[in-house]
């Protein structure tokens, strides 16, 4: 192949499977150098593999940059522990198609989700802090139980329905069961079983979702830039100019379209559903925002492409 390109993996596959696709030993060697982070592991959905220009054994600056980005994406998507990795990958599988067209929509969704998970995490921390205050004698037992009851009610509200997704908390009947401790152990041993694990899990999940948003938007913009670069490096001058008009048009018109459609859909969802709880707001925000983001991302892309093409035809080929 004449130039380097990045490949976004969409299914779990072994590294060697991709490597074997390359026929020449030089290409395989370069593939290994550009993808050192994937060599000893399966390649998961969402991870990026870099195929270099096999006409040269030297890595260009562009190839190195792509390799660093692939590493960053791998780190952003994959947590340190296996369960978190699995959960992130599961989420990625669900969201991947939306990423392609509606990074803004998914940005809205994951932004809210991050905020929601952050709130759950803070409530868990508050529960622990209340407990510590009681243990150190700052709070009386009655006050502690009263405060804990309020915090449990808050947590319960935040974990209704789909609010539980991504928290790692099972759908048990009570908050205490969900958190994995009984009233007895909570009061006498002072051990919030799995507490640290939960908090770490939530923090990681929120961070991954945040990174997912960044990666989604970056991929959208990056894809446009690569289209331009591709056209300018292999095409004629007019193809290059046309690609600039079209890709810039897609971005300038497509992103505002997706943002506006997302907002309008959320507003419409709230008006029609007239929710009565925070959980419903979250559902409307995520479902409507993501769906509209996807639709407008795709429609907005066609819209931007058309306008870019129109501008190119009127001014670009003069």
């Amino acid at each position: 192949m004449a130039r380097a390109f990045a490949f976004i993996n969409d299914q779990t596959q072994t590294y060697s499977w991709y490597r074997e696709k390359l026929t020449s030993p030089a290409a395989r060697q370069k593939f290994d150098r550009l993808n050192p982070y994937n060599r000893h592991d399966a390649v998961r959905p969402g991870q990026v593999l870099i195929y270099g220009d096999d006409s040269s054994s030297q890595c260009t600056f562009e190839e190195e940059q792509m390799s660093w980005l692939a590493r960053d994406i791998r780190h952003a998507f994959l947590g340190s522990s296996f369960p978190i990795r699995e959960e992130t990958i599961k989420n990625y599988d669900v969201l991947q198609r939306i990423f392609t067209y509606g990074s803004i929509g998914i940005g809205s969704a994951t932004g809210a989700w991050k905020s929601h998970l952050g709130q759950v995490e803070n409530t868990l921390k508050d529960i622990n802090s209340t407990y510590q205050r009681w243990r150190s004698g700052v709070l009386s037992k009655d006050l502690f139980i009263a405060e804990r009851k309020v915090l449990f009610a808050t947590l319960d509200e935040k974990l209704r329905g789909i609010g539980r997704w991504g928290t790692g908390l099972k759908n048990n009947s009570t908050i205490k069961n969900m958190l994995g401790y009984s009233s007895k152990s909570f009061l006498h041993t002072g051990e919030l079983r799995d507490y640290a694990k939960r908090v770490q899990h939530l923090g990681n999940m929120a961070r991954h979702l945040s990174n997912g948003t960044f990666v989604g938007v970056a991929l959208d913009i990056g894809a446009g830039a690569l289209e331009i670069e591709e056209a300018c490096s292999v095409g004629r001058k007019e193809q290059c100019t046309k690609a600039k008009f079209i890709e810039v048009g897609k971005m300038v018109v497509g992103i505002p379209s997706a943002v506006r459609a997302g907002g309008a859909a959320v507003s419409l969802c709230v008006k029609l559903a007239a929710p009565s709880r925070g959980g419903s707001l979250l559902v409307c925000g995520i479902a409507a925002g993501a769906a509209a983001g996807w639709a407008a991302g795709k429609g907005g892309s066609a819209f931007g492409e058309f306008v870019g093409n129109m501008l190119y035809e009127s001014v670009g080929d003069e």
Binding site: S108, S115, K271, L281, F303, M310
Partner: protein, 124 residues
């Protein structure tokens, strides 16, 4: 319908969508906090702010959409206890226009553009 006319509808809509986006940036940064401050007791607005408050531009877009819903579907929201009707009625006309007009212009432009693109066979 005249193809040239449809093309110009798409072009004009694109200009409006981009202009609307820029106006929305201003509204979300300067006007939205003022309106939200007037709707402190509206559950819809307060919950949305708590949920999306820290998420930058996209969060502000969501909050703006909820304030729009509170201002334009007040009766329905009141039935669910999501808004305080007194607070909503105290929101000034100027603030209402800042919130509602960009939403109408943006949505109207998008609908017009998508219809024109569909008629031109260029939507999907």
């Amino acid at each position: 319908m005249n193809e040239e006319f449809l093309k110009w509808v798409v072009f004009a809509s694109a200009v409006l969508v981009v202009a609307d986006f820029l106006v929305s940036l201003y509204v979300n940064h300067y006007i939205l906090p003022q309106v939200e401050a007037q709707l402190k007791n509206c559950k819809l607005v307060a919950d949305t702010k708590a949920l999306w408050g820290t998420t930058g531009l996209l969060g502000k877009m969501q909050r703006s959409a909820m304030v729009y819903a509170a201002l334009t579907s007040t009766r329905r929201m009141r039935e669910k206890g999501m808004v305080d009707i007194d607070e909503v009625s105290r929101v000034s006309r100027r603030h209402r226009l800042w919130i509602c007009v960009p939403m109408w212009v943006g949505c109207g432009s998008l609908v017009a553009a998508f219809i024109a693109l569909a008629l031109l066979g260029r939507l999907w």
